[in-house]
Structure formats: C-alpha cells, structure tokens
Amino acid sequence: MPETYRVAIVGSGPAGLSAAARAAQLGMSHILIEKTDHLSDTIYKYQKGKHVMATPSNLVLRSDVDFDAGKREFILDTWDRQIEECKANVRLNSEVTAITGTTGAFTIEIKGGETIQAEAVIMAIGTQGNPNKLRCPGADMPHIQYQLDDPGEYFDEQITVVGSGDAGIENALGLAADPAQRNIVTILNRSAEFARAKPANVTLLEEAERDGRISVRRETTPTDVRDKQLVLETRDGAETIPCDRIIARTGSQPPRGFVEKCGIEFTSEERSAFPKLSPSFETTQQGIHVIGALAGYPLIKHCMNQGYDVVEFLNGNADLKPADEPILAEKFSALPGNRSVDEWLEVFRENIVILRELSPLQMRELMLDGSVAAFDAGDVIFVRNDPGSSMFAIAEGSVSVEVNPADTSITVPIGRGSIFGEVGLISGRRRGSTVRAAEPVITLELSRTAALKLLATAPTADRAVRQITIERQLLQMFGSGLTPQDVTEMVEAAEAVEIRAGQNVIEEDADDTDFYVIQRGSMIVEKTIGGKPVFLSYLPAGSYFGEMAVIDGNRRSATVKAAIKSEVIKFPGDAFMRLLERNPKVRERALADMASRRQINAFVEERKESFSGAVDMYSETAKFLIDNGIGEATDVLLIDETLCVGCDNCEKACADSHEGLSRLDREAGRTYAHLHVPTSCRHCEHPHCMADCPPNAIKRGADGEVFIDETCIGCGNCQRNCPYGVIRMDPKPPKKPSLLSWLMFGAGPGPGEASYSWRKKTAQKKGLEQAKLAIKCDMCAGIDGGPACVRACPTGAAIRVAPEKFLTFTKLAEDVD
C-alpha cells in the first residue's frame, strides 16, 4: 500500500510552489507534481534575461517563497533554492493524466502508469495547456519538439516545421536566418494560405521562399514520422523527405478538458470561463482545489498568495483573511457607516440585483477591480459626453438622469439595486446623459474588464443588463415623453443579433420591415447606383436604421451592412409602428430623422449624376478607410499625402512628447487616393488590446484615449492582440540633452526618437537599463494643446478624425489644395 499524502499539488508554477512551501513549513505531508524537468515552466520559458514585473504593487506578498521584480534567471534561482531549503517534496517529469476518487481518497495517475494517493488535491496547472501533438504514427518520436528556445543552437540539420501560425513561421525564419548554420528548413501548411499568421510574417516567409532559404509546402500534412525521415501527404500524393528534427507548432489544447474530466464544473460554456470556486478555492468536486491562472488570476503575486492561503485553509485555518483584505478595507474606508469588509461585501451583494448570485470569492475579486464611492444629493456622477466604458451599480440611495441636454430639469430616476452607465460599456461610446445623485448614494463602479467578466460569469446579470440596455436605448433615442411602459412591447420582442464584418443586415429592394438599433460596432449604408455600390453614410453604435420601410411601407431603399463585427437589436416592424402610433411626438421625431437621411442620400445620388468621379472617389475612399479600421475607431490619425513632405516631424514630436519613443510610424500603413492611414492607434471602441491584459493596465482615459498605465508587466499580449500593429515593446530610453545644447553644441542625438544604439549605449553607461514595456499612443492625454503629431505638422497633412464626422461626403470629397 503506497503512502497517502495529505495534499497533492499539481503544477509547480508560482501558485503550486508557494503551496508546496507552505505545506512543507507546516509539516503537512505533501507532494508537488511537475510535468517538466524543472520548476515553473511558464516562467522558465520566458525569454532569457526578461525582466519580470511584480504587480499589483499594493498587494502584499504572503508566501514562504520570495518574489520581487527582477530578471527571470534570478527569480527562478531563488525559487529553486528556497524550494530545496524548505525540503518540499518535489516530483519532476511527471505528467498527471487523470485524477479520480473523492475527498479523502484521490488517485492521481501519472503518465507511465504510476499512481499517487492523496486526501486532497490542489490544481495549479495554469492556462498554458499541452501542445497539440502530431496526429500521425510516430508522433511520440524523440526528435519532435514543441518549443524552440534558441534557433541558433542547430547546425547542418534538415528541420521540418509543422504549423502555419505565427509561432511556426517565426521558428522557421529563425532557423533559416543564418546561412552559416546550413540548416535546410521546410515548413508545412495544411491549407494553401497562411490565414492565421500576421501579414508581416507571411511576407517574410514568402520572401524567404523566393530566396530559396525556406521550402514552403502548402496543402501538405505529415502522415508518418520515421527516424531521419518524414512521410508527407501532398496534393499530388505521398512523398518522403529527409528530416532530422520536427518542430510542431500546431497550437495547444487548453487545460479545460482535463479539468472537466476531473469532475470540476465551469461557470459557463464561454471560452473565458473559470472553474466554479468556493471562498477556500474548492471546486465543485469536493477535495479538489484550483488556484492561480487556471482560477482566473494571471499575476504571479496573486498566484503565490493563493498557494499559501489554500494550504492554510486545508490545514484548518478558517480565520485567515485573504491577502487582499487591506486593499478592500482601504477601498471601503471612503464610505460612510464604518462597516467591516465582510459587511460591506454583503451590502453590495444583497442590494445590487446583478450581483446576487456571486460567491464571496467572486465578490472580492469584483470589488478589487471595481471602485466604490459615496455621493451627496446633487453631486454629479458623470457628465454627458464624458468618455466612459465603466458601468455603475447603486448599492444605496438613488440617482437621477438628465435625459434632455437642453433642459436639465427633466430627469428620470434610477433606484437602489439597479445599474447605469451600461451604454458606455456595451457600445464603447461616450456617456449619453448627465447623472446626478438624487439622494445620498453609494455606487460601485465596475471597469469595463470587470464588468465584462461579471457578465460572462453570471448569466442572470448578463440578461438583466441586456434588458435594461435595450429599454434605455429606446428611451434615449427618441428623447423625452416616452416611459418604460411605452417600450415594453418592443423590449419584449427584441432580439440581439451578432453580425460579422461585411455581413448585410438589410438588403436593398428586400421587403422585410424589421427595425434595428446598433448596440455594438457600426454599420455602413450603401446603395447601388449605375450598377456600382455607392457609400451613402456611416452609422455609429447607438443609431437606429430600417425605419423607412416600416414607416412608408416601401421596399428597402439601401443596403445596410456591418463595418466591423457588430451586434444589433432587431425589433419587429409592427411593434415599432404601434409605438409610433401611440406616441405622436416620437413619430414626428422619426419622420424628421428620416427626412434628413433621405436628403443626404438624395444629395449623393444627385452628385452621382453630375459628378460621377467625385462620388466614386468618395465611396471608394470611405470603403478604404473602413477596411483599415476606421469603422471601429474613435479618434484616428490620417495623413493627407497631397500635403505630406515626409519630414517626419509628427514622429519626432511624438517621441519628444513621450519619453523619447515614437508611438506612430508615418510611412507604414495603407494609402488610397493620397489618404494615408499610418501605423498609429485608432483608439477602438472595443479595444482589442484590452482583451487579455493580466494586470488590467490598459484603460480608457478621460478624453476617450486608450492608454497603458504604469502597471504594465511587459508580457506583450496587447501587442499580439492589436490587429493594426500599433503597440511596440521597448524600454524607456534615458533622457536626452536639451534642445538648446543640441542646437548650440550638437550634444545628444537631436530632436525625435534617438537611434536604438544611442538609447542602448547611453542606458548602459548610465546604468539605467529598464524592462521592455508596451507603449502606444495615448492621444497626448494630459498635454495641453492636444496631440503633438497634429500640432507639429508644418503643412497640415496630419489630421486626427472621428469616423462619424469624417466619413461624410463633404469631408471626403472636399478639395484640399
């Protein structure tokens, strides 16, 4: 009978090793199981010499193992040493394949057939997952590898890279980069196109192919891996090539499947969902605990604290307060009433409808991301046209919404338990109205990320928010006079529809009569004139369309299609018609809107008759801009190349306004009809860069700018997620000598971004070497005068525009000379 451990810890990342160290310290019988031959594989795989950040800085580290910001090597050495010193029981090279049993008696199966018995299990396997293996005979051969640390290590080899994503292409390029290594590199792609990779990488690969440095085989899959040989299936039949080494980069299997197989439930079907957890990190499978990145905490410090905490809980320490207690206490200290953290958590959870189904652990996490505030009666909470993507919930008191900008005395109340500001969250647009406290009020403000996480994990919250949003959007669109009762029929009949970019919502000449509201994304309106689609107008989120056919009963007069991935709310036309019949004022308003839209369409059509060239140009230019991301932009830099003399003063001004690094690349980017879209941030309505930022360092600022704050850990996720390539990773350069001393004595590199070598050399000399962090345009927030790129343009070529203002006939067809 083998020994039964009190606890088995699966995964030796920051969370797992912190748990093992705690268990060792407490004298609890334990085993730390690691798949690879070293501790903490995720950090181990970081690039050599990478500076690892330790955020959030206000969170205290509670662990028997030390951790502070520093070089990868130093951190790994510290952990290896301390794990050895505390005599933790570590078992390397052991991949767990299954966990079965119930609390008190778990059996952990190790690859190879061995088993380990434990009373409790802590799963700390992170989110890295296992690389997908080749699906062919011989997939277990030792010369297949799933990672390439240093392409410079291999010489005189025939290497085949399998996989057509960025990882595969970058590996292949790296292996073939230096001809002196004499490697013969082949890359296999199952399909004919490299659709999943960045265009820049594909270009490099195609060039390498033309040069004969890499052999690219399209529509080819490996079918048999043999020693020194690889059998391929190609379009023209089987083929055998010599092969010393295979690099398989075909993606990885997220660990969810394995976790679910152990009997653990997730909060939802969403890809972003996490396992359901109790306050002591216990999953729905009693006795199994989940901590760290797998539990939704990607930052090292969180992970280490949880490792400590979970072992304390297992040891029977029920009084342990989470390490974030002081942070929450400080948050709540600003509120009146002198309640304890637990009491406040309960107040918020009880009172706010959308939070009722959250567990205490989820509540804590939500409150860490949220901010609480108390307002006196009459205080302004936010002002109309403020940018803001956060959502507010009312824990106590009530607020009043000034629905009519012209007359602030007209207000609509929102009471305790409800939410407001959700339009900003969903559409990414500015606040639609000013909100004030109607009586003393306590609010919880949830940042965009926190709110989206909440909606993804709590289905009832999601439904409630959607319903409220639709109702309020209808009320707001048609102005005063409507009550929630008036739109009940519409709200109940509403249906949310996801629209792909480029997909038609309404087709010209169709005879449907649905009415639509754009909730997220944007639409373009097109009409076929003379056999060609002509761009008529651009509709941002928050606008409605489809009303013409409902009102006049004719066929659709134009096509409406999505400029970017969007979500529209579809209402049956007859419900909308009844709404208009019951409310003459709304009818009047709708007719007025319709008339002005008709006028614009007629104007463009008229022009088409007499100035066909100008209309084609306008239409093509508008489409070009939308293809280049202007449809989802809020404020974008354009360069009129009929004026640009290529002096690069915009780049220089950018660098000199921001610590010496330029956040725009004037030359790069697409051009149509002399209108150039440089590589520069578009400040998207729903920024792609925000999607996966571990410290939540990317935020939307007071002027609508998307910026990265100082908590950036330099992971590079945002850079990879940005479809426009506008984020760069670079260390902050040392300060340059002043402009005067450059002018007078030629000191330093002069205005603009200093060369890489100057930055590196000077930083080395001054001992100011810094971590590479993500940098991007912040629209010169906080700099008086606004964006430096525009101010510093000597000819007026550089302009910053908002799509709804720029994508109009007058703006696009005007002559600038």
């Binding site: 040069d211 640009c644 003399v645 051009t671 007026g796 070529a797 600038v816």
Partner: protein
Amino acid sequence: MASKADSSNFAQAEKRRDTDHESFLAHKRMRWLKISAVLCLIVVISYFLVDVEPRHNGGTWYGYTLGTIGALLIAWLSVLGIRKRNISEGKWSLKAWTSAHVYLGLALIVIGTMHTGFQLGWNVHTLAWALMMLVIVSGIYGISVYAALPRALSNNMREMTRKQMVEGLAALDRQLDSAAQPLDRMEADAVINATQQDAFRAGLLARLTGSYPRCATKRALKAFPDGALNKHEEKVASLLRKRKSQLGQIRRHMRYKALLEVWLFVHIPATIALLAALTAHIVSVFYYW
C-alpha cells in the same frame, strides 16, 4: 469626478476633429495671406503718401519704422526652426506658424525693399538686403516644391516604406546571386557589377535630376539582349529588369526628397548669414549715427 474642465476638453477635441483639413497655404481661409497683403498695401501706399526729405531711404523716420518692423519680422521668422523642434505644451500649431512664416516672409520683399528706398550699393546694408532676398527666393522655391511634389512622392511610394524598398532591393540581389550561378564568366561579372554597385552613392546632381548614366544594372541588362537567351539567362534578365525598376523607385524617392530638402541648404545658412549681416547693418547704422 467629472468637472467643467473635462467637458471643455471634449469640446476642444471635438473642434479639432471637426477642423477641415486645410494646407498651410490655405490655413484659416488664408488668414496670413490677407494680413500680409494688407500690410504690404499699407507700406506701398504710405511710401508714396509720406513725403520725406531729401528722399526715401533707411535713415528717415519712415525708413527707421520700416527697418524696425523688418528686423523684428526677420528675427521672428527665423524662430520657426526652433518652434519646429521644441515640442512644448500649449495650443500652438506648426501649420499656423508655417502659414504665417510664408506670407509674412513674402511681405518682407515689400517692407525690406521700401526700407532701402531703392538705394542699393556695395556695402554691408545692401548685403543684408541681398541675403534677405536670397532667403526669400529660396523660400519661394520651397513653397512651390511643397505644393507640387508630395503627390508625386506619395504615388511613387506605392504603399512601401523606405525600409521595404531597400529590403526589396536586397531580396532581388539575393535572388540574382543564386540565379547567376550557372552563367558564364562574362555574364556573371555583369551581374556582380550590378549588385555590388552601391545604390546610395550618388552625387548631388544625380540625386536632383534622377539620371544615373553609370548605372551598372542598366549596363548589365545590355549583356542579356532579348531573344537568344537560355532559361537561366532569361531568369537573370527578368530579375535585372525587376532590379532596375526597384532602383528606379528608390531613385525617384531620393530625387523627390532631395528636391524637397535641397533648398533648406540655402535657406538656413543664408538666414544665419542674414542675421549676422543684419546685426552688422544695425550696429553700423547706430555707430555712425
């Protein structure tokens, strides 16, 4: 929390996003052209209306007035170089500065010349006037290329960056290098001459005119006349033609950039000389008062 400052920021940003894109020449509906025209008109009319004894020259009260205005203008106009490089905070716009620089600079022709009272000679005073005219003439050239060339520059780029053009050339050279392996000695030498010629070593004249009579690529192409080419030679010839067209793009780019910048090599040194001559002119005038 939200305050008035925030909403005024919004208003300011909206105004910025609303601005029509106008060139520096048309800035604010030609505001500076109008101001300069009025200034010139006043100077010209007053020149004929004001009767000074014995005749118009720099030494009369009228001459001193124009001289002071002119000197102040020159001093202010030369500050543009600093304004352009000193990216300080504030609501300045370099486009507005350039617009004012252009039109007020042109007005100096009238102000400076009227200041002389057409009394020119071989002295430091006339030197200052002549340098001023040189600066202005070079500036007029600058305005004309700024107005005419950007379109050509943009058309020639064809969405490529400078780096991509150079990389394109390097890629062609690598392909040429391997494609030329089966060729005979003489043909191979022609290819080597072509790929080894530094595309960026060109004299000022070649740069400005865009004509490169000693282009090794062009010469190499002659070694591969149409017809009578085998498969290898045909491939090399096609690569050489591509190289020639890539070189052409780079050379045109360099030409436009050179034309857009060359005048600054006159404009700025002449400005510095003008400032020196102006100082000498003023000091000597007051010294010999």
